[in-house]
Amino acid sequence: MHRGKGMKFVGDSRIKAENKMPNVPKDYSEYPGKTEAFWPNFLLKEWMVGAVFLVGYLILTVAHPSPLERQADPTDTTYVPLPDWYFLSMYQLLKYEFASGPFNIVGALVMPGIAIGALMLVPFMDTTKERRPFKRPLPTAFMLLAFAAMFYLTWESVANHDWEKAKAQGEIREEVSFDPESEGYKIYAGASCIGCHGDAFEGGLGMPLADTGLTAEEITEIAKNGRGEMPGGTFKGTEEELHTLSEFISGLSTE
Protein backbone atom coordinates (compact mmCIF):
# COMPACT_ATOMS: atom_id res chain seq x y z
CA MET A 1 0.00 0.00 0.00
CA HIS A 2 1.31 3.38 -0.95
CA ARG A 3 1.68 5.84 1.92
CA GLY A 4 2.99 9.35 2.28
CA LYS A 5 2.88 12.65 0.49
CA GLY A 6 2.96 11.23 -2.98
CA MET A 7 -0.46 9.65 -2.49
CA LYS A 8 -3.07 10.66 -5.07
CA PHE A 9 -6.52 11.77 -4.01
CA VAL A 10 -9.67 12.30 -5.96
CA GLY A 11 -11.55 15.41 -4.87
CA ASP A 12 -12.37 14.61 -1.30
CA SER A 13 -9.09 13.49 0.18
CA ARG A 14 -10.48 10.62 2.22
CA ILE A 15 -10.97 8.66 -0.94
CA LYS A 16 -7.76 7.43 -2.44
CA ALA A 17 -7.45 7.28 -6.19
CA GLU A 18 -6.37 3.66 -6.30
CA ASN A 19 -9.13 2.61 -3.98
CA LYS A 20 -11.77 0.21 -5.21
CA MET A 21 -14.49 2.26 -3.50
CA PRO A 22 -16.81 4.14 -5.84
CA ASN A 23 -15.26 7.54 -6.24
CA VAL A 24 -17.98 9.95 -5.18
CA PRO A 25 -16.11 12.92 -3.88
CA LYS A 26 -18.10 15.48 -1.94
CA ASP A 27 -17.39 18.41 -4.16
CA TYR A 28 -19.96 21.02 -4.99
CA SER A 29 -20.12 20.48 -8.70
CA GLU A 30 -23.91 20.19 -8.43
CA TYR A 31 -24.03 23.78 -7.23
CA PRO A 32 -23.66 26.63 -9.70
CA GLY A 33 -20.73 29.01 -9.55
CA LYS A 34 -17.18 29.08 -8.36
CA THR A 35 -16.04 26.77 -5.63
CA GLU A 36 -12.67 27.25 -4.02
CA ALA A 37 -10.37 25.21 -1.83
CA PHE A 38 -10.78 25.60 1.88
CA TRP A 39 -7.02 25.67 2.37
CA PRO A 40 -5.62 28.21 1.94
CA ASN A 41 -7.92 30.33 -0.23
CA PHE A 42 -11.11 30.32 1.78
CA LEU A 43 -9.44 30.21 5.18
CA LEU A 44 -7.59 33.41 4.30
CA LYS A 45 -10.92 35.14 3.60
CA GLU A 46 -12.38 33.77 6.81
CA TRP A 47 -9.38 35.13 8.66
CA MET A 48 -10.05 38.56 7.12
CA VAL A 49 -13.60 38.47 8.48
CA GLY A 50 -12.19 37.27 11.81
CA ALA A 51 -9.65 40.10 11.91
CA VAL A 52 -12.33 42.75 11.36
CA PHE A 53 -14.40 41.10 14.08
CA LEU A 54 -11.40 40.99 16.41
CA VAL A 55 -10.78 44.73 15.98
CA GLY A 56 -14.36 45.49 17.06
CA TYR A 57 -14.04 43.03 19.93
CA LEU A 58 -10.84 44.62 21.22
CA ILE A 59 -12.22 48.16 20.90
CA LEU A 60 -15.19 47.03 23.01
CA THR A 61 -12.84 45.49 25.58
CA VAL A 62 -10.65 48.59 25.85
CA ALA A 63 -13.55 51.07 25.82
CA HIS A 64 -15.60 49.22 28.44
CA PRO A 65 -13.55 47.58 31.19
CA SER A 66 -15.41 44.60 32.60
CA PRO A 67 -17.43 45.44 35.69
CA LEU A 68 -16.50 44.33 39.20
CA GLU A 69 -18.75 45.12 42.10
CA ARG A 70 -17.67 45.04 45.72
CA GLN A 71 -16.84 41.75 47.40
CA ALA A 72 -19.89 39.60 48.09
CA ASP A 73 -21.65 40.14 51.38
CA PRO A 74 -24.36 37.45 51.53
CA THR A 75 -25.90 39.12 54.60
CA ASP A 76 -26.90 42.24 52.66
CA THR A 77 -30.57 41.47 52.09
CA THR A 78 -31.31 44.78 50.39
CA TYR A 79 -29.41 43.88 47.23
CA VAL A 80 -31.58 43.56 44.10
CA PRO A 81 -29.86 41.10 41.72
CA LEU A 82 -30.03 40.92 37.96
CA PRO A 83 -28.71 38.05 35.83
CA ASP A 84 -26.64 38.49 32.68
CA TRP A 85 -28.57 39.89 29.70
CA TYR A 86 -29.20 36.54 27.99
CA PHE A 87 -31.12 35.27 31.02
CA LEU A 88 -33.21 38.42 31.40
CA SER A 89 -36.17 37.14 29.36
CA MET A 90 -36.46 34.04 31.56
CA TYR A 91 -36.01 36.18 34.68
CA GLN A 92 -38.69 38.63 33.59
CA LEU A 93 -41.11 35.77 32.93
CA LEU A 94 -41.02 34.89 36.63
CA LYS A 95 -42.41 38.30 37.53
CA TYR A 96 -45.77 37.70 35.88
CA GLU A 97 -48.68 36.36 37.90
CA PHE A 98 -49.29 33.36 35.68
CA ALA A 99 -45.66 32.28 36.09
CA SER A 100 -44.84 33.07 39.70
CA GLY A 101 -45.97 32.21 43.19
CA PRO A 102 -48.06 29.02 42.99
CA PHE A 103 -47.42 28.90 39.22
CA ASN A 104 -43.66 29.33 39.61
CA ILE A 105 -43.18 26.00 37.88
CA VAL A 106 -44.65 27.50 34.69
CA GLY A 107 -42.05 30.25 34.51
CA ALA A 108 -39.15 28.30 35.94
CA LEU A 109 -39.51 25.03 34.06
CA VAL A 110 -42.47 24.60 31.72
CA MET A 111 -41.94 27.58 29.42
CA PRO A 112 -38.12 27.40 29.14
CA GLY A 113 -38.51 23.62 28.77
CA ILE A 114 -40.98 24.01 25.92
CA ALA A 115 -38.70 26.58 24.26
CA ILE A 116 -35.56 24.42 24.38
CA GLY A 117 -37.48 21.20 23.64
CA ALA A 118 -39.24 22.72 20.64
CA LEU A 119 -35.95 24.12 19.35
CA MET A 120 -34.34 20.71 19.59
CA LEU A 121 -37.22 18.96 17.84
CA VAL A 122 -37.51 21.45 14.97
CA PRO A 123 -36.08 19.07 12.32
CA PHE A 124 -38.53 16.36 13.33
CA MET A 125 -41.56 18.64 13.21
CA ASP A 126 -40.69 20.53 10.03
CA THR A 127 -40.00 17.58 7.76
CA THR A 128 -40.91 18.98 4.34
CA LYS A 129 -38.25 19.36 1.66
CA GLU A 130 -38.91 23.08 1.33
CA ARG A 131 -36.13 25.29 2.75
CA ARG A 132 -37.10 28.86 1.86
CA PRO A 133 -38.56 30.65 4.91
CA PHE A 134 -41.54 32.09 3.03
CA LYS A 135 -42.45 28.69 1.61
CA ARG A 136 -42.84 27.25 5.14
CA PRO A 137 -44.89 29.89 6.92
CA LEU A 138 -45.55 28.00 10.17
CA PRO A 139 -41.98 27.36 11.33
CA THR A 140 -40.99 30.87 10.25
CA ALA A 141 -43.94 32.40 12.11
CA PHE A 142 -43.21 30.43 15.29
CA MET A 143 -39.55 31.42 15.27
CA LEU A 144 -40.38 35.09 14.71
CA LEU A 145 -42.97 34.89 17.51
CA ALA A 146 -40.47 33.30 19.91
CA PHE A 147 -37.87 35.90 18.99
CA ALA A 148 -40.35 38.75 19.49
CA ALA A 149 -41.43 37.32 22.87
CA MET A 150 -37.83 37.06 24.08
CA PHE A 151 -37.07 40.54 22.82
CA TYR A 152 -40.15 41.97 24.56
CA LEU A 153 -39.39 40.23 27.89
CA THR A 154 -35.77 41.39 27.83
CA TRP A 155 -36.89 44.92 26.98
CA GLU A 156 -39.40 44.97 29.86
CA SER A 157 -36.79 43.65 32.27
CA VAL A 158 -34.28 46.34 31.30
CA ALA A 159 -36.91 49.11 31.33
CA ASN A 160 -38.20 48.15 34.79
CA HIS A 161 -34.81 47.87 36.45
CA ASP A 162 -33.57 50.79 38.53
CA TRP A 163 -30.11 51.15 36.98
CA GLU A 164 -29.05 54.09 39.17
CA LYS A 165 -29.79 52.10 42.29
CA ALA A 166 -28.17 48.99 40.83
CA LYS A 167 -24.99 50.94 40.21
CA ALA A 168 -24.95 52.41 43.72
CA GLN A 169 -25.68 49.14 45.53
CA GLY A 170 -22.76 47.32 43.96
CA GLU A 171 -20.11 50.04 44.08
CA ILE A 172 -16.74 49.20 45.57
CA ARG A 173 -16.44 51.25 48.74
CA GLU A 174 -13.15 52.39 50.10
CA GLU A 175 -12.37 50.75 53.38
CA VAL A 176 -12.63 53.03 56.37
CA SER A 177 -9.61 53.04 58.63
CA PHE A 178 -10.52 53.13 62.29
CA ASP A 179 -9.44 51.67 65.59
CA PRO A 180 -11.97 49.06 66.75
CA GLU A 181 -10.57 49.41 70.28
CA SER A 182 -11.27 53.13 70.46
CA GLU A 183 -13.94 54.43 72.79
CA GLY A 184 -15.86 55.99 69.90
CA TYR A 185 -16.19 52.66 68.12
CA LYS A 186 -17.26 50.90 71.32
CA ILE A 187 -20.06 53.40 71.79
CA TYR A 188 -20.99 53.08 68.10
CA ALA A 189 -21.09 49.27 68.29
CA GLY A 190 -23.05 49.33 71.53
CA ALA A 191 -25.74 51.62 70.13
CA SER A 192 -28.28 50.93 67.41
CA CYS A 193 -26.23 52.93 64.85
CA ILE A 194 -24.30 49.84 63.80
CA GLY A 195 -27.50 48.12 62.59
CA CYS A 196 -28.07 50.54 59.73
CA HIS A 197 -24.64 52.07 59.14
CA GLY A 198 -22.70 48.79 59.17
CA ASP A 199 -19.91 47.48 61.37
CA ALA A 200 -17.26 49.17 59.24
CA PHE A 201 -19.30 52.33 58.52
CA GLU A 202 -19.96 51.02 55.00
CA GLY A 203 -23.65 51.87 55.21
CA GLY A 204 -26.64 49.66 54.53
CA LEU A 205 -30.08 50.97 55.28
CA GLY A 206 -28.31 54.09 56.46
CA MET A 207 -25.66 56.08 54.58
CA PRO A 208 -21.93 55.32 54.78
CA LEU A 209 -20.38 57.38 57.57
CA ALA A 210 -16.86 58.04 56.32
CA ASP A 211 -15.89 61.30 54.62
CA THR A 212 -19.22 62.94 55.48
CA GLY A 213 -17.66 66.39 55.82
CA LEU A 214 -19.90 67.03 58.85
CA THR A 215 -18.66 68.59 62.07
CA ALA A 216 -19.15 66.87 65.41
CA GLU A 217 -21.89 69.39 66.32
CA GLU A 218 -23.79 68.64 63.12
CA ILE A 219 -23.59 64.90 63.76
CA THR A 220 -24.87 65.38 67.32
CA GLU A 221 -27.72 67.38 65.84
CA ILE A 222 -28.60 64.62 63.33
CA ALA A 223 -28.41 61.92 66.01
CA LYS A 224 -30.88 63.88 68.13
CA ASN A 225 -33.33 65.09 65.52
CA GLY A 226 -32.82 62.73 62.61
CA ARG A 227 -32.40 63.59 58.94
CA GLY A 228 -34.10 62.23 55.84
CA GLU A 229 -35.01 58.60 56.47
CA MET A 230 -33.09 58.50 59.74
CA PRO A 231 -35.30 58.93 62.80
CA GLY A 232 -34.16 61.18 65.64
CA GLY A 233 -33.51 60.11 69.18
CA THR A 234 -32.31 56.61 68.43
CA PHE A 235 -29.11 57.15 70.43
CA LYS A 236 -29.88 56.24 74.03
CA GLY A 237 -26.51 56.99 75.69
CA THR A 238 -25.41 60.00 77.72
CA GLU A 239 -24.59 63.45 76.34
CA GLU A 240 -20.93 62.78 76.96
CA GLU A 241 -21.01 59.51 75.01
CA LEU A 242 -22.80 61.23 72.16
CA HIS A 243 -20.12 63.90 72.08
CA THR A 244 -17.36 61.26 71.93
CA LEU A 245 -19.25 59.37 69.22
CA SER A 246 -19.81 62.51 67.13
CA GLU A 247 -16.16 63.46 67.34
CA PHE A 248 -15.24 59.92 66.32
CA ILE A 249 -17.58 59.75 63.34
CA SER A 250 -16.65 63.23 62.18
CA GLY A 251 -13.05 62.08 62.00
CA LEU A 252 -13.70 58.93 59.93
CA SER A 253 -12.06 58.87 56.53
CA THR A 254 -11.13 56.33 53.88
CA GLU A 255 -7.55 57.59 53.69
Binding site: R3, G4, K5, F9, G11, D12, S13, K16, D27, Y28, E30, Y31, G33, T35, E36, A37, W39, N41, F42, V49, Y57, L60, T61, V62, H64, S66, L68, E69, R70, Q71, A72, P74, Y79, V80, P81, L82, P83, D84, Y86, F87, L94, I105, A108, L109, I116, L119, M120, V122, P123, D126, T127, K129, R131, P133, R136, P139, T140, M143, F147, G170
Partner: protein, 224 residues
Protein backbone atom coordinates in the same frame (compact mmCIF):
# COMPACT_ATOMS: atom_id res chain seq x y z
CA UNK B 1 15.04 18.66 7.50
CA UNK B 2 11.39 19.29 8.38
CA UNK B 3 10.38 17.43 5.24
CA UNK B 4 12.45 14.45 6.33
CA UNK B 5 10.84 14.44 9.79
CA UNK B 6 7.41 14.72 8.20
CA UNK B 7 8.12 11.84 5.81
CA UNK B 8 9.44 9.73 8.66
CA UNK B 9 6.26 10.21 10.71
CA UNK B 10 4.00 9.95 7.68
CA UNK B 11 5.53 6.69 6.56
CA UNK B 12 4.60 5.16 9.90
CA UNK B 13 1.33 6.88 10.79
CA UNK B 14 -0.14 7.88 7.42
CA UNK B 15 -0.95 11.35 8.72
CA UNK B 16 -1.39 12.99 5.34
CA UNK B 17 -5.08 12.10 4.90
CA UNK B 18 -5.88 13.67 8.27
CA UNK B 19 -4.93 17.17 7.30
CA UNK B 20 -5.68 16.76 3.60
CA UNK B 21 -9.26 16.11 4.63
CA UNK B 22 -9.49 19.55 6.18
CA UNK B 23 -7.39 21.28 3.58
CA UNK B 24 -8.82 19.81 0.41
CA UNK B 25 -12.53 20.24 0.75
CA UNK B 26 -14.14 22.72 -1.56
CA UNK B 27 -16.14 25.70 -0.39
CA UNK B 28 -19.11 26.49 -2.61
CA UNK B 29 -19.80 29.95 -3.97
CA UNK B 30 -23.06 30.58 -2.11
CA UNK B 31 -21.36 30.60 1.32
CA UNK B 32 -18.38 32.70 0.24
CA UNK B 33 -18.69 36.38 1.20
CA UNK B 34 -16.01 37.21 -1.37
CA UNK B 35 -18.52 36.33 -4.09
CA UNK B 36 -21.79 37.42 -2.49
CA UNK B 37 -21.64 39.89 0.37
CA UNK B 38 -24.92 38.56 1.77
CA UNK B 39 -23.09 35.28 2.42
CA UNK B 40 -21.63 36.89 5.56
CA UNK B 41 -24.51 35.21 7.41
CA UNK B 42 -22.58 31.96 6.89
CA UNK B 43 -19.72 33.42 8.96
CA UNK B 44 -21.64 33.39 12.24
CA UNK B 45 -20.83 29.76 13.05
CA UNK B 46 -17.15 30.26 12.37
CA UNK B 47 -17.11 33.44 14.45
CA UNK B 48 -18.80 31.57 17.31
CA UNK B 49 -15.93 29.09 17.20
CA UNK B 50 -13.41 31.93 16.95
CA UNK B 51 -14.76 33.54 20.13
CA UNK B 52 -14.89 30.12 21.81
CA UNK B 53 -11.16 29.68 21.13
CA UNK B 54 -10.52 33.16 22.58
CA UNK B 55 -12.62 32.23 25.62
CA UNK B 56 -10.57 29.09 26.21
CA UNK B 57 -7.26 30.96 25.84
CA UNK B 58 -8.25 33.98 27.96
CA UNK B 59 -9.82 31.65 30.54
CA UNK B 60 -6.56 29.68 30.78
CA UNK B 61 -4.69 32.91 31.51
CA UNK B 62 -7.32 34.01 34.05
CA UNK B 63 -6.80 30.83 36.08
CA UNK B 64 -3.13 31.81 36.48
CA UNK B 65 -4.31 34.49 38.93
CA UNK B 66 -7.79 33.47 40.01
CA UNK B 67 -8.25 31.69 43.36
CA UNK B 68 -11.54 29.85 43.83
CA UNK B 69 -12.19 30.43 47.51
CA UNK B 70 -14.49 32.97 49.10
CA UNK B 71 -11.74 34.83 50.96
CA UNK B 72 -9.53 35.41 47.94
CA UNK B 73 -11.69 35.05 44.83
CA UNK B 74 -12.78 38.67 44.75
CA UNK B 75 -9.36 39.91 45.83
CA UNK B 76 -7.63 37.92 43.11
CA UNK B 77 -9.98 39.32 40.46
CA UNK B 78 -9.50 42.85 41.83
CA UNK B 79 -5.74 42.38 41.72
CA UNK B 80 -5.90 40.97 38.20
CA UNK B 81 -8.10 43.85 37.09
CA UNK B 82 -6.11 46.67 38.68
CA UNK B 83 -2.52 45.55 39.19
CA UNK B 84 -1.55 42.88 36.68
CA UNK B 85 -0.18 44.11 33.35
CA UNK B 86 -2.91 43.66 30.70
CA UNK B 87 -5.01 41.84 33.29
CA UNK B 88 -7.85 44.20 32.54
CA UNK B 89 -7.62 43.33 28.85
CA UNK B 90 -7.56 39.56 29.41
CA UNK B 91 -10.47 39.70 31.82
CA UNK B 92 -12.24 42.15 29.52
CA UNK B 93 -11.90 39.77 26.58
CA UNK B 94 -13.28 36.90 28.65
CA UNK B 95 -16.14 39.08 29.94
CA UNK B 96 -17.17 40.50 26.57
CA UNK B 97 -16.40 37.26 24.76
CA UNK B 98 -18.98 35.54 26.96
CA UNK B 99 -21.62 37.87 25.58
CA UNK B 100 -20.29 37.85 22.01
CA UNK B 101 -20.25 34.06 21.82
CA UNK B 102 -23.92 34.02 22.79
CA UNK B 103 -24.76 36.74 20.27
CA UNK B 104 -22.92 34.88 17.49
CA UNK B 105 -24.54 31.60 18.51
CA UNK B 106 -28.01 33.20 18.39
CA UNK B 107 -27.27 34.57 14.92
CA UNK B 108 -25.84 31.23 13.73
CA UNK B 109 -28.95 29.45 15.04
CA UNK B 110 -31.22 31.90 13.22
CA UNK B 111 -29.20 31.53 10.01
CA UNK B 112 -29.47 27.74 10.11
CA UNK B 113 -33.14 27.98 10.95
CA UNK B 114 -34.14 30.44 8.25
CA UNK B 115 -32.12 28.73 5.53
CA UNK B 116 -33.76 25.43 6.51
CA UNK B 117 -30.34 23.84 6.83
CA UNK B 118 -31.44 21.57 9.67
CA UNK B 119 -33.49 19.43 7.27
CA UNK B 120 -32.67 15.91 6.25
CA UNK B 121 -29.90 14.71 6.42
CA UNK B 122 -28.69 17.27 8.99
CA UNK B 123 -31.17 16.70 11.84
CA UNK B 124 -28.60 15.24 14.21
CA UNK B 125 -26.22 18.14 13.75
CA UNK B 126 -29.04 20.53 14.67
CA UNK B 127 -29.70 18.55 17.87
CA UNK B 128 -25.99 18.68 18.77
CA UNK B 129 -26.09 22.41 18.02
CA UNK B 130 -28.93 22.92 20.49
CA UNK B 131 -26.93 20.98 23.10
CA UNK B 132 -23.97 23.30 22.46
CA UNK B 133 -26.38 26.20 22.95
CA UNK B 134 -27.47 24.85 26.36
CA UNK B 135 -23.84 24.17 27.37
CA UNK B 136 -22.89 27.76 26.49
CA UNK B 137 -25.73 29.11 28.64
CA UNK B 138 -24.48 26.87 31.46
CA UNK B 139 -20.98 28.29 31.04
CA UNK B 140 -22.42 31.80 31.21
CA UNK B 141 -24.37 30.99 34.36
CA UNK B 142 -21.49 29.32 36.22
CA UNK B 143 -18.95 31.95 35.14
CA UNK B 144 -21.11 34.74 36.58
CA UNK B 145 -20.46 33.58 40.17
CA UNK B 146 -16.68 33.32 39.99
CA UNK B 147 -15.67 36.97 40.65
CA UNK B 148 -17.58 36.60 43.93
CA UNK B 149 -18.88 40.15 43.93
CA UNK B 150 -22.35 41.26 44.98
CA UNK B 151 -24.14 40.65 41.69
CA UNK B 152 -22.45 37.29 41.29
CA UNK B 153 -23.68 35.89 44.59
CA UNK B 154 -27.18 37.30 44.47
CA UNK B 155 -27.83 36.39 40.83
CA UNK B 156 -26.60 32.86 41.55
CA UNK B 157 -28.85 32.69 44.59
CA UNK B 158 -31.83 33.43 42.35
CA UNK B 159 -30.64 30.93 39.73
CA UNK B 160 -30.24 28.17 42.29
CA UNK B 161 -33.66 28.91 43.76
CA UNK B 162 -35.15 28.58 40.28
CA UNK B 163 -33.36 25.23 39.84
CA UNK B 164 -34.61 24.14 43.27
CA UNK B 165 -38.22 24.77 42.25
CA UNK B 166 -38.09 21.93 39.71
CA UNK B 167 -40.41 19.18 41.04
CA UNK B 168 -38.94 15.96 42.47
CA UNK B 169 -35.28 16.55 41.56
CA UNK B 170 -35.12 20.28 42.42
CA UNK B 171 -33.60 19.79 45.86
CA UNK B 172 -31.10 17.32 44.43
CA UNK B 173 -30.00 19.74 41.69
CA UNK B 174 -29.65 22.48 44.30
CA UNK B 175 -27.35 20.36 46.49
CA UNK B 176 -25.37 19.24 43.45
CA UNK B 177 -24.76 22.86 42.41
CA UNK B 178 -24.49 24.63 45.76
CA UNK B 179 -22.92 21.83 47.77
CA UNK B 180 -25.42 22.38 50.56
CA UNK B 181 -29.18 22.57 50.92
CA UNK B 182 -29.16 25.97 52.63
CA UNK B 183 -25.80 27.71 52.34
CA UNK B 184 -24.47 29.43 49.25
CA UNK B 185 -20.82 29.75 50.11
CA UNK B 186 -17.34 28.28 49.86
CA UNK B 187 -18.60 24.92 48.61
CA UNK B 188 -20.74 26.59 45.94
CA UNK B 189 -17.81 28.61 44.62
CA UNK B 190 -15.54 25.58 44.22
CA UNK B 191 -18.32 23.61 42.54
CA UNK B 192 -19.12 26.39 40.11
CA UNK B 193 -15.41 26.75 39.40
CA UNK B 194 -15.08 23.04 38.67
CA UNK B 195 -18.19 23.04 36.48
CA UNK B 196 -17.12 26.19 34.63
CA UNK B 197 -13.50 25.18 34.08
CA UNK B 198 -13.61 21.38 33.72
CA UNK B 199 -17.03 19.78 33.28
CA UNK B 200 -18.74 22.13 30.84
CA UNK B 201 -15.66 22.84 28.67
CA UNK B 202 -15.12 19.08 28.38
CA UNK B 203 -18.72 18.63 27.30
CA UNK B 204 -18.38 21.57 24.95
CA UNK B 205 -15.26 20.22 23.25
CA UNK B 206 -16.92 16.84 22.73
CA UNK B 207 -20.01 18.44 21.26
CA UNK B 208 -17.99 20.77 19.03
CA UNK B 209 -16.01 17.80 17.71
CA UNK B 210 -19.27 16.02 16.88
CA UNK B 211 -20.62 19.22 15.28
CA UNK B 212 -17.56 19.64 13.04
CA UNK B 213 -17.17 15.97 12.11
CA UNK B 214 -20.82 15.96 11.02
CA UNK B 215 -20.29 19.07 8.90
CA UNK B 216 -17.34 17.39 7.16
CA UNK B 217 -19.36 14.22 6.60
CA UNK B 218 -22.40 15.98 5.21
CA UNK B 219 -20.92 19.07 3.63
CA UNK B 220 -22.60 22.42 3.89
CA UNK B 221 -26.21 22.74 2.79
CA UNK B 222 -26.85 23.91 -0.75
CA UNK B 223 -28.05 27.31 -1.93
CA UNK B 224 -31.70 28.20 -1.38
Amino acid sequence: MLNKIYDWVDERLDITPIWRDIADHEVPEHVNPAHHFSAFIYCFGGLTFFVTVIQILSGMFLTMYYTPDIENAWKSVYYLQNEVAFGEIVRGMHHWGASLVIVMMFLHTLRVFFTGSYKKPRELNWVVGVLIFVTMLGLGFTGYLLPWDMKAVFATKVGIEIAASVPFIGEWIKILLAGDSTILGAQTLTRFFAIHVFFLPAALLGLLAAHFIMIRRQGISGPL
